[in-house]
Symmetry: D2
Amino acid sequence: MGDISVSNGISNGNGVNGKSHSLNGYRKSCWYEEEIEENLRWCFALNSILHTGASQFQDIALLDTKPFGKALVIDGKLQSAEIDEFIYHESLVHPALLYHPNPKTLFIMGGGEGSTAREILRHKAVEKVSMCDIDEEVVDFCRSYLVVNREAFCDPRLELIINDARAELESRKECFDVIIGDLADPIEGGPCYKLYTKSFYEYTVKPRLTHNGIFVTQAGPAGIFSHTEVFSCIYNTLKQVFKYVVPYSAHIPSYADTWGWVMASDAPFCLSAEEFDLRMKQRIKGENRYLDGRTFASASTLSKAVRTSLENETHVYTEGAARFIYGHGRQNQD
Amino acid sequence: MGDISVSNGISNGNGVNGKSHSLNGYRKSCWYEEEIEENLRWCFALNSILHTGASQFQDIALLDTKPFGKALVIDGKLQSAEIDEFIYHESLVHPALLYHPNPKTLFIMGGGEGSTAREILRHKAVEKVSMCDIDEEVVDFCRSYLVVNREAFCDPRLELIINDARAELESRKECFDVIIGDLADPIEGGPCYKLYTKSFYEYTVKPRLTHNGIFVTQAGPAGIFSHTEVFSCIYNTLKQVFKYVVPYSAHIPSYADTWGWVMASDAPFCLSAEEFDLRMKQRIKGENRYLDGRTFASASTLSKAVRTSLENETHVYTEGAARFIYGHGRQNQD
Amino acid sequence: MGDISVSNGISNGNGVNGKSHSLNGYRKSCWYEEEIEENLRWCFALNSILHTGASQFQDIALLDTKPFGKALVIDGKLQSAEIDEFIYHESLVHPALLYHPNPKTLFIMGGGEGSTAREILRHKAVEKVSMCDIDEEVVDFCRSYLVVNREAFCDPRLELIINDARAELESRKECFDVIIGDLADPIEGGPCYKLYTKSFYEYTVKPRLTHNGIFVTQAGPAGIFSHTEVFSCIYNTLKQVFKYVVPYSAHIPSYADTWGWVMASDAPFCLSAEEFDLRMKQRIKGENRYLDGRTFASASTLSKAVRTSLENETHVYTEGAARFIYGHGRQNQD
Amino acid sequence: MGDISVSNGISNGNGVNGKSHSLNGYRKSCWYEEEIEENLRWCFALNSILHTGASQFQDIALLDTKPFGKALVIDGKLQSAEIDEFIYHESLVHPALLYHPNPKTLFIMGGGEGSTAREILRHKAVEKVSMCDIDEEVVDFCRSYLVVNREAFCDPRLELIINDARAELESRKECFDVIIGDLADPIEGGPCYKLYTKSFYEYTVKPRLTHNGIFVTQAGPAGIFSHTEVFSCIYNTLKQVFKYVVPYSAHIPSYADTWGWVMASDAPFCLSAEEFDLRMKQRIKGENRYLDGRTFASASTLSKAVRTSLENETHVYTEGAARFIYGHGRQNQD
């Protein structure tokens, strides 16, 4: 019933019966509201609340919003919106895979939504994608409801693991050409903090990269003010561990902010915009909507204000190091 | 799916799995918002948008709200909320039916939601209820989704007519013991304006009342300020047509206001609170939740401010009279 | 500067220069928002934020709102609005003073806003009003900015005390004809909880009442659902201490709810509506806007639902009694 | 008084007296709300409404917002916010002035806020800035309240004209090295539409530019979706009139979008990032906060999606041309 009435709603919304103007009247009375920060709100008119559920870890909802289409919301925070998630996922995935000479094996930390796997699997040469998310219900929820990722979830090259990404990486013996961090931001005490620390990068991620492998991670808000929350620290922490580190960013309308990613390797990143475009054509099935060589050139050239404060960042994410390394050592002895 | 996920949502909301605190977190991010007036907003946290639809006349939605339960919204205006609609409907129906010596036949103008019929049908002696609503889709929508009124919709004593209430009354030959107006407010140019005019009461309603029959209508907001919008004019208009007129009011939380009703007849209204209670016991199946003799005594004793401005009201609702009466006359000749 | 621009704002708002329609456009973009409860919001369009300040105990703001005029907000909660505070204050003050044969001396617990004193001082026979509020800054703020109470603050019959109401009452030797509680609700652990307990009423308030003296207190929300929060418990607690207890209520638009008060004494409350009106005329300077005999008759006749749950209320507000009574005893020995 | 209480507010907000946590509590109850589009809202917590006024054309307000500092709002639309207006104004002014070999005389269409003049006047070689705004009250309001622009308003090189920018340009005989459009967007029927048309650029702007002079205009939202509203059309319209046209954009947090500007000339734009930085150092007093050579290189490299749709844009802004050109011709005869 819910689905039927919802589709009614949508078809009306499309104005097929000339009632859309007044339906809009009705619809504008239902809103999704997110507190971007304590004193800043971002509100979307709602068509409907398509599905809601709860996992052992999180609450999940799939909303149908007027400005941004279907939106995945976890614990009251927008994760991705139908209309512009391609900006986030093309930016997270393609630069690392294109800079790498020949990426065949990949590991995704998190990414339960499936969109990161979807973008990776567009690369024809990719042989194996290991996607490791801790929350099985979220994965099942997205597999059931995010039509756009259904094909990816069925791709035989995708290995889906339900586990803590760190435990999984530490338990692996093989290495990966590219490791991708698609996790929640490193909030002190948050679920993912320990997956952004120097020791994690040094002792867990790097050992699992093949020679000249590339690590890339989402890196939180990168706006002219918001980049100091986590973006600059993630950049600086990776600089402690890898020879070459490239921060880049893009404005994502549904996030009401510019978002950041950081790419790191011990091999230099050198591709001209033209080479970037050439590899895109050769390697990727279908057309990118957002990213190409010039877009990446622009995205990886930060504004003066952000560039300067990244250069001046001194904070490094760490854990109570000694104890951790000790414990880590012991695990390795097993 | 919709329904399943919604019921998940609800059970979680009830905290059966200890997740309710965070689900609340999620839920509070979806809101229903109504502009009570241009500068005043009333917002309910949403559990879900259960059903939406559109009729030839109006847009309809059934929302599941946290503070007031399921809420019926038509054209972006709250019509009735699960948690307190009984205040409105007990107040609209029972005083007129209890003051009447022996009401057997009733006519409802509007009332497509079904709750007014439900309350009437609790009166054991009632033989026939003619409910005349102009919007078939709204009636079907409510019959399908408002579980609380399902029994009423199936009662053999209910005759459901889809027609303009005035055309219907003018086409009828028989009379009714009680006629009930359960219509939208008389906004100039609004759909129901002509069902609140002196000429309508005088030439259409009154002729269809049995001897000593009673007319009662919802009469819009009756708050200390809002009663001047329509309540006092409806009262004053009925005073022009009936010997005895009783205005009364009650605070309805989900409306964020005190609501008004006016009862009118050519027979005096005399019942003590005790007689009122006695008739309730004798005539009505089940217990009222809101209304009894003392409640009605209080509801029909208006505060000084409202009482005074009702006494001083001079406006009478009329139409471009002559032409209308002429037309009306012709119809009577038929 | 602030004041000048504000008064500009207001004069424009009044349309003196024909711009008010568009100013409304602007104004509607600023809103005061209050969470009546976790899932229910009440929002007023703002003309301006007239004054803000902070005391040792609370934050204070005087807002100019479009729907309700000037509004006093303490710690983000609306205290009283220019347009309808008369409902609250006439209801709090006049019934007790009118039922009392000849009230000359009064004590106000709280009431720093000054409106309670203002209503009391309209009684010509009143000789002394002791108003005891704990928050000097709030009192100063209201004295400076609430023009409507300026006269009351200057009345020689007013004695203003800055102290904890309980400590003050316990330190007093004299008795009062009427004691009025104009305090925040009794939230467990809240600032005023101990001023609503059985022991406080029994050992602190009652001893300070003259023979046949009357105690009256604001008693929180009294809506059909909200009355169970504190109204029914305050009623039941007072019933343990006084022979005669009268609960009454009124809808206050700016509160988006019906509000409650409870009046208590060891002398019976007997006045007909006519006697009530007569005493009003004889004793009170000027006209009441809200209250008269019939209004009070209605206000003190609760609806079936509320009446029943008050009768069935069993909870009594208490403190860790023994220790308190001991301490109290010691103070009396001083 | 207003100002005092406001400054109290602010100092408290800064937590100087440890009350900030609760003051935040209060403050979050007042919000500025803007409908970015019909179904999208952007809300800032308010500290205070500093000043409001109305001109013959528009309503003006200066708000003190928590997330973005002081904000100038005209007709309910945010014009610029203290915290990030430098992004808009550095981007509007400096590229054109730096690409120009030696700009001495400038004309600003609009710009009543004063910030555009402020940035221009930082260029030591500038000899004369003619700023032409139609709304004297807005200019006076900003001159009085926008402290940051006070110095600019007093600079002897600034000539302030109150007139329609087109009438003014058409009445001028002299030419300008750079003409800057700091106007509202070209909404059909809006006040500024005719200042964005091909004929205006061709017959009014271009004739008033010195040899190799540069025209630059703000060009509305330039986000991945919003750039089609006006940005792409302004770009395409200027392409019809000038040999070289450079569109560029930057994310402005308080606008919740990426913003666009278009720079146009018959001389090519050629400066390396290094030359850009060198001219900045030589010509501009003080340090830019946002813009430098690499920032502009990034800002003027649009993402694939935006670049493609600019290239494919076919719409050109025009007026009912014939009549207009005739009229224009007549004026030239005068």
